[in-house]
């Protein structure tokens, strides 16, 4: 009978107390391991540094964190808009016209990013096919197939020029969602930049049961079956009346999972967003609705006055929207308009019923027309186009820094932030500190578990003094007895620790599933990092120390005395 057989036999003999002690160790370690994983994965989750882009261009108001959370993680509200012209400047591949900045030495790729609408709680992102490595007609760039997968007969564009083999064509550089990871389609094709088409994230497809548009069915039938959808303005709350836009987008492609928040959104051409008549007017309508004001009762000449009163800057309302708004008001202008704005608000009528809303919508004119190719031509003139942000892939670290620090000098209508830096700062100042506190709590739990080992084994030794004396009489040395007791403590620590690591990972798997559902980005809960092994070693060490106290009691057990007892 070897040492382990002897120890395991004795542990089984006191199965209940052994399991309870093991459970306390398990709980402590699993909690600690879950926190270690959170701490390890936190930077990957929130402090992601391997973005496929280096710079976000966004409005100067709001915080850089808000801009990053909104653009990268599709959380929070957009801090505002920037003129589309900035994107024109940054994406330009040819020499700029006089008076416009030349970003070519700094910018490798730039893609537009526009938020504001949603479909069944999932955000719609207005962008261009360039985001996915396709041209404006939805055709793959050189070096990629129809699904956006790299073709083998091309050289990776990431390679430095001197490392590229001669005579082999180089793959076109594309925007990436993470370093060296570009979007690829699982099925379908890329949307065209001027059509009401959409490419959706993998999670959206599976959760909202959306599928590719079936040309053999009618648009209505497709909408019913999930092949087409209509967007809702903003992200209405549960008690808010959704403002459903008139246009329908056809689902033409489904992306492969990226394991980022992008899996949870729907991508549409940014131009299609400017073609929504209700869009900017919708903002005003919503505000009026909240203030219980019927827009049809506002006299056209007093619209600005009402807007200011409601906190809307009339200067920011595009002319096309203003035109629509005034037309609507003029058509139903009351005979005697109230003089005071407050009075105007008092005379407000209840919000329209669903039937009325439907009726209104049917009367809404389209804010676009189609050209001979069927491309969308928004009524909103390009100089009034706005974007939420621009994603920029810079040419080098130096270019990133130049853009970040000098952008305001070039164009004060926008600001440039480095998302990796922002998220690192966010993690360091908030998440990291929180995780450290949690880790401290977990360490305390583990110390309590070690104390529980001490108590259990101490009690067990106290109850087994005669057995220990018998073992001594049979030839077991003091050192052997010490080893047996310490081995028991270490085994409880080791088993509890290992089971704790397993449970901690399972706990993290649950957390990962939750994060996947809420943020579209899971965490790596499978791999066991060196810190976890280190923690296990610490727990085993603590168990050993805890075992030493009863072991020393056993070590000192007087044999003759205990043999004659009982």
């Amino acid at each position: 009978m070897n040492l382990f057989q002897l120890v395991s036999k004795q542990m089984r003999q006191r199965a209940l107390s052994t399991w309870l002690t093991l459970l306390s160790v398990l709980l402590g370690v699993s909690l600690a391991v879950a926190i270690i994983i959170l701490r390890r994965e936190g930077p990957n989750l929130f402090g992601q540094r391997d973005f496929g882009y280096d710079i976000l261009i966004g409005p100067p108001k709001g915080s850089p964190l808000q801009l990053t959370l909104n653009t990268v993680y599709h959380m929070d509200v957009s801090p505002g808009v920037i003129p589309f012209a900035i994107y024109d400047d940054m994406a330009r591949k040819t020499a700029p016209p006089p008076g416009r900045p030349d970003f070519r030495p700094y910018v490798r790729n730039a893609v537009p990013f526009m938020v504001g609408d949603s479909y069944r709680g999932r955000r719609l992102i207005g962008t261009s096919p360039a985001m996915f490595g396709f041209d404006n007609d939805g055709k793959p760039l050189a070096g990629y197939d129809e699904l956006g997968q790299p073709l083998p007969d091309f050289v990776d564009w990431h390679l430095d020029e001197d490392q590229r083999p001669r005579g082999v064509p180089v793959r076109t550089s594309t925007m990436e969602y993470r370093l060296n990871q570009k979007y690829e389609l699982a099925e379908g094709r890329m949307f065209k930049s001027k059509k009401f088409e959409a490419v959706i994230g993998s999670d959206v497809a599976s959760q909202l049961k959306l599928r590719l548009y079936d040309p053999s069915l009618s648009v209505e039938e497709n909408e019913k079956r999930g092949g087409a959808f209509r967007a809702t303005h903003g992200m209405p709350g549960p008690n808010e009346t959704p403002d459903v836009h008139k246009p329908r987008w056809n689902v033409v492609g489904i992306l492969k999972p990226t394991h980022t928040a992008n899996d949870k959104v729907l991508f549409i051409p940014y131009i299609s967003l400017y073609a929504i008549a209700e869009h900017e007017a919708g903002i005003i309508d919503q505000t009026l609705l909240k203030a219980n004001i019927d827009p049809s009762r506002i006299p056209p000449e007093r619209v600005d006055e009402v807007l200011v009163k409601l906190g809307i800057d009339p200067q920011n309302v595009p002319e096309s929207v203003r035109r629509k708004f005034k037309l609507k008001a003029a058509a139903t202008a009351p005979a005697a308009a109230p003089k005071d704005v407050d009075e105007l608000m008092k005379s407000a009528t209840p919000p329209p019923t669903a039937d009325e809303a439907k009726h209104d919508e049917a009367e809404d004119p389209d804010a676009f027309h189609l050209d001979e190719k069927g491309d969308i031509i928004p009524d909103l003139p390009p100089e009034e186009w706005m974007l939420s942000a621009i994603l920029v892939q810079s040419r080098s670290g130096f270019a990133t820094e130049r853009l970040k620090f000098n952008f305001k000098v070039i164009d004060d209508r926008a600001t440039a932030v480095n998302p990796a830096g922002i998220m690192r700062e966010f993690f360091d100042t908030f998440l990291s500190g929180t995780a450290n506190v949690l880790l401290l709590i977990a360490a305390f739990v583990s110390v309590v578990a070690a104390a529980s080992i001490l108590t259990t084994i101490y009690n067990s030794v106290s109850a087994r003094l005669r057995e220990i004396a018998i073992l001594r009489a049979l030839g077991a040395t003091r050192a052997r007895i010490l080893t047996i007791i310490c081995t028991e403590a270490v085994l409880i620590g080791l088993l509890g620790g290992l089971l704790g690591i397993v449970c901690g990972h399972l706990l993290s798997a649950v957390g990962s599933a939750f994060l996947q559902r809420t943020m579209g980005q899971p965490i790596n809960w499978i791999s066991v990092g060196p810190l976890e092994w280190g923690y296990l070693a610490l727990v085993v060490g603590m168990a050993f120390v805890a075992g030493l106290v009863p072991a020393l009691k056993a070590y000192r057990t007087p044999v003759a005395e205990n043999l004659t007892v009982g």
Partner: protein
């Protein structure tokens, strides 16, 4: 010579500070393979003598030589404690008055346990054979609680003989048994000791049991302290 004791002394401190001499054995020996019954009354130092021979307690002075096939004649009083423990495990079999089996272990495991501290590989076949010899081949997997008192003592006998010791010490091994079982167990002990060639020193207060041995020694005749236990006012050094 199987066992040779000379000038052995053991004293204890009494709670009142006085010193009690419990062992004072000028000379005692058992030739190899001999079975000896040592008779003494309660409190005459029987168990202390056996514990001293086994190295469970250390005498204050004197010499205890035990013959072992591998190491020759060894003075256990001169061995460091750890070596003494190992020597005991290898060369001395000890049968207690109460069986002192481990309750969580089966009969076979208890016998194997006796082989676990010798630094040598345990021999399960020999353990089974021994249990067969004591009539428990059908009870190998029984825990002590499921065995009768007599069967428990048989297991204890098998455990004491597990390492084929050169000396077996038995401390009132039949004290808790009825006379019929006692006789059977006693015969078993002697038989097994003969089989493995071990010397046997059995202490008892029962003259009838002692009468079954070829040599009977009155403890009082070898332990001067047993004749007249005395106290001294001086504490022991």
């Amino acid at each position: 010579m199987g066992l040779s004791i000379s000038a052995l002394k053991k004293q204890y401190h009494a709670p009142d500070g006085s010193v009690v001499t419990v062992l004072d054995v000028p000379e005692f020996a058992i030739p190899s393979g001999q079975h000896v019954a040592l008779v003494g009354t309660s409190g005459s130092g029987k168990t202390t003598l056996l514990h001293s021979i086994a190295g469970i307690i250390t005498p204050d002075s004197g010499q205890i030589l035990i013959d072992s096939p591998a190491d020759g004649s060894v003075d256990v009083t001169q061995l460091p404690e750890a070596h003494r423990d190992i020597f005991r495990g290898r060369h001395i079999g000890y049968i207690f008055q109460t069986h002192h089996l481990l309750p969580g272990f089966t009969a076979l495991e208890n016998v194997l346990l006796g082989m676990s501290f010798t630094g040598r590989r345990a021999d399960p076949a020999w353990a089974r054979e021994l249990l067969g010899k004591v009539g428990l081949s059908e009870r190998l997997d029984y825990k002590p609680g499921k065995l009768s008192v007599g069967q428990q003592q048989r297991v204890a006998v098998a455990r004491a003989l597990a390492n084929k010791p050169s000396l077996v010490l038995a401390d009132e091994p039949t004290g808790a048994l009825d006379s019929e079982t006692a006789a059977a167990v006693l015969a078993l002990i002697r038989d097994l000791c003969t089989q493995v060639g071990a010397s046997l020193l059995l202490v008892t207060h029962d003259r009838d049991i002692a009468g079954q041995f070829p040599r009977q020694v009155d403890l009082a005749s070898i332990n001067l302290a047993a004749k007249k236990p005395f106290r001294t006012a001086q504490p022991a050094a």
